[in-house]
């Protein structure tokens, strides 16, 4: 099977689906000639033309609002938000509109729209090009929120998202784009939008994470393996709906739990995972649930010492794992 990078896998998925389904189109800032600021849509305007790969004005509420309308009138739009940090002006359209249209119309209307956006830090992006703001959407019924961690899932999930009849927020960790490579089948396949995946099986500690943090968790887990501790690494993949069954299964099996994310912790996805475990794994826990995430500061700073302070690294994961192992 061909080796592909994460970014190529996303692009392949989009391109193939655009060839198969002419209702699929892309609307966003700089998605055309420039191919997006990261290059995800590179070459697509050339192949599909200016309408199907449409450069929008600099207006995020527009991008999402127009995509919602287009979706209600038969298209399958991809709304690209250049950075997750800039999703904020579109929050009304996402939360008040996209998430509620099926429900409020009693099933009469629906919004088959995909919103793609890169998130995460560690790229000298500073306060407004490094954020991980998925929690606020993971709270909202009516949305699907997914984060692939590897090229296989990236392609399978973008295709699944484009075929899903409801709004899907598809978040890409920007450090994965070129750093993460893996096998990606040619041609059509989908990956479910509501299921976590056990990336590595283990017995002693269950690690729950998503996006780039899956790789930090794997690396830290490897280091503990050398000392005889086996970590089960679970890639949540879907943050809404979250795969409760998978969480409970791995947590119960291991008895010790670490949840790892790059976002700050308060009222976050990690909070929800911890809460699920507190509710459902009372009898099987051998240690307190632990969470590791970004610090409670407004966003990731620019200067290297400060950025490094923020980042959740394999070292930090390892330290937490050792704390848990010793409990």
């Amino acid at each position: 099977m061909p080796q592909k990078s994460y970014i190529e896998a996303i692009r392949d998925g989009i391109r193939e689906e655009m060839r198969r389904d002419e209702r699929v189109m892309i609307l966003g800032e700089d998605v055309g000639a420039k191919g997006g600021v990261f290059g995800v849509t590179e070459g697509l305007q050339k192949e599909f033309g200016e309408w199907r790969v449409l450069d929008s004005p600099l207006a995020e509420s527009l991008i999402v609002g127009v995509a919602i309308g287009a979706a209600m009138n038969g298209l399958r739009p991809i709304a690209e938000i250049q950075f997750q940090d800039f999703i904020m002006p579109a929050v009304d359209q996402i939360i008040s509109e996209a998430a509620k249209i099926r429900y409020r119309s009693n099933g009469d209307w629906n919004v088959p729209m995909v919103l793609r956006s890169p998130f995460g830090g560690g790229v000298h992006g500073a306060l407004y090009h490094s954020q991980s703001i998925e929690a606020i959407f993971a709270h909202i019924p009516g949305l699907r929120v997914v984060v692939p961690s590897n090229p296989y899932d990236a392609k399978g999930m973008i295709v699944a998202a484009l075929r899903d009849p409801d709004p899907v927020l598809y978040f890409e960790h920007k450090r994965c784009y070129r750093a993460i490579k893996g096998e990606v089948p040619d041609g059509e396949y989908t990956v479910p939008l509501d299921r976590a995946r056990v990336v590595r099986e283990g017995q002693d500690i269950a690690i729950f994470s998503y996006g780039m943090m899956v790789h930090a968790s794997l690396e830290a887990g490897d280091r503990l393996a050398a000392d005889g501790f086996s970590c089960e690494v679970v890639d949540l993949r879907s943050l809404r709906p979250i795969d409760r069954t998978a969480i409970v299964a791995s947590a119960s099996k291991c008895g010790k739990v670490l949840i790892v994310q790059e976002a700050n912790l308060a009222v976050s996805v990690a909070s929800e995972v911890a809460a699920i475990i507190a509710e459902d794994c009372f009898d099987s826990l051998d240690a307190p649930v632990m969470r590791l995430g970004g610090p409670e500061i407004p966003a990731m700073p620019f200067s290297p010492p400060l950025e490094q302070f923020y980042l959740v690294t394999p070292d930090k994961v390892e330290a937490k794992l050792r704390e848990l192992a010793a409990y």
Binding site: P57, G65, G69, N73, R102, P165
Partner: protein, 336 residues
């Protein structure tokens, strides 16, 4: 019977049938509206928000669209518009009575949150202004498929202060999309008068900034409304892009059943509005033109009241949604 010059001018090339129908639509909406207020005052409907004073321009646009082919993204005052497009008084009585059979939302939303897929009326929520972008997206999709469908979207003048207004106008104008932005300017956003909402008297002034026509029409003049609607729809249909239409209308009632406009408007002001009511003016005009004859209007009215009585009766025995349906339609139940 040969028409005089004034008659011709007043009719503006509209045949008697069209004029009569227009009046009937306006009257039907008004009577339904009044009925819904009665249901509210009787404590059977917790909420109503009225179209009284806005009917003429809504009917004008409704009559110039092709229902089920053209698209509509309305706002909560568009009772008359939805009726012209094919919704029924019963539909809306079901809604104010919060019944499961309410086609707008199955009793999930407040009344006047219109929506009907069968008629290409998209579902509307409460947040003001978002529908303008939906309409623009709908028009984009029509355009990409090469269809000549027209999309009409409406909003109050208050709603034009939202950023989405600007973003939608801008995008629709860039791509010359077949969308009509209808601003129903009644001078108030709840209690806030237009002077505190905008720096110029006319929302239509903003059209210049987008290089599109900005048309002002007296919303109390039904015939002028019809002409304006016809022209805007034609323009959109032939691919010449959006029009911003501003209809100067009246809000004859309080903002909603939760409001009391006597707190922030003078009695004289309220009285003056009643005088300008388009329904009465239009009736007078049609009688003058010989389009309505002695007794016509009264006959229409009894017929419409009958329809309303029947609709009310039927709606009242229609069941409430059952609690176990509350979890439905969060996501697709079937996967597609």
């Amino acid at each position: 019977m040969a028409m005089t010059r004034t008659e011709t001018k007043a009719r503006a090339g509209l045949d008697a049938e069209t004029l009569r129908l227009m009046y009937r639509h306006m009257l039907r909406s008004r009577l339904l509206d009044e009925r819904l207020w009665v249901l509210n005052r009787q404590g059977r409907a917790p909420f109503w928000i009225s179209a009284e004073g806005h009917e003429a321009v809504q009917v004008a646009f409704g009559m110039n669209l092709k229902p089920k082919y053209d698209w509509v993204a309305p706002y909560y005052r568009d009772l008359a518009l939805t009726l012209v497009l094919g919704m029924t008084p019963k539909d809306h009585i079901l809604s104010v009575l919060q019944r499961a059979a309410d086609p707008n939302s199955g009793g999930r939303q407040m009344p006047a949150h219109y929506g009907c897929r069968r008629l290409n009326i998209i579902t509307t929520g409460s947040p003001v202004g978002t529908q303008l972008l939906h309409a623009t997206g709908i028009a984009l999709a029509s355009r990409m498929r090469g269809e000549d469908a027209v999309t009409l979207t409406s909003i109050g003048e208050g709603g034009t202060s939202e950023g989405d207004f600007h973003e939608a106008m801008n995008f629709a104008a860039i791509h010359k999309l077949a969308v009509i932005f209808l601003v129903e300017n009644n001078g108030f956003a709840i209690s806030v008068p237009w002077q505190k909402q905008m720096p110029t008297e006319d929302v239509a002034d903003r059209a210049k900034g987008y290089g599109i026509p900005g048309v002002i029409v007296d919303g109390c003049d039904a015939i002028a409304c019809y002409r304006t609607a016809r022209e805007a729809v034609k323009r959109a249909r032939r691919g010449d892009g959006p029009t911003l239409v501003e209809a100067k209308v009246l809000r004859l009632t309080s903002h909603s059943s939760d409001d009391d406009q006597r707190r922030y408007r003078t009695a004289a002001d309220l009285e003056a509005d009643k005088e300008r009511d388009s329904l009465h003016r239009f009736k007078a005009t049609l009688e003058e033109l010989g389009v309505l004859h002695q007794g016509d209007a009264e006959e229409m009215r009894s017929e419409l009241v009958l329809e309303l009585d029947r609709a009310t009766e039927e709606a009242e025995v229609s069941p409430f949604p059952s609690a176990d349906t509350a979890m439905l339609h969060v996501y697709s139940e079937t996967g597609d």
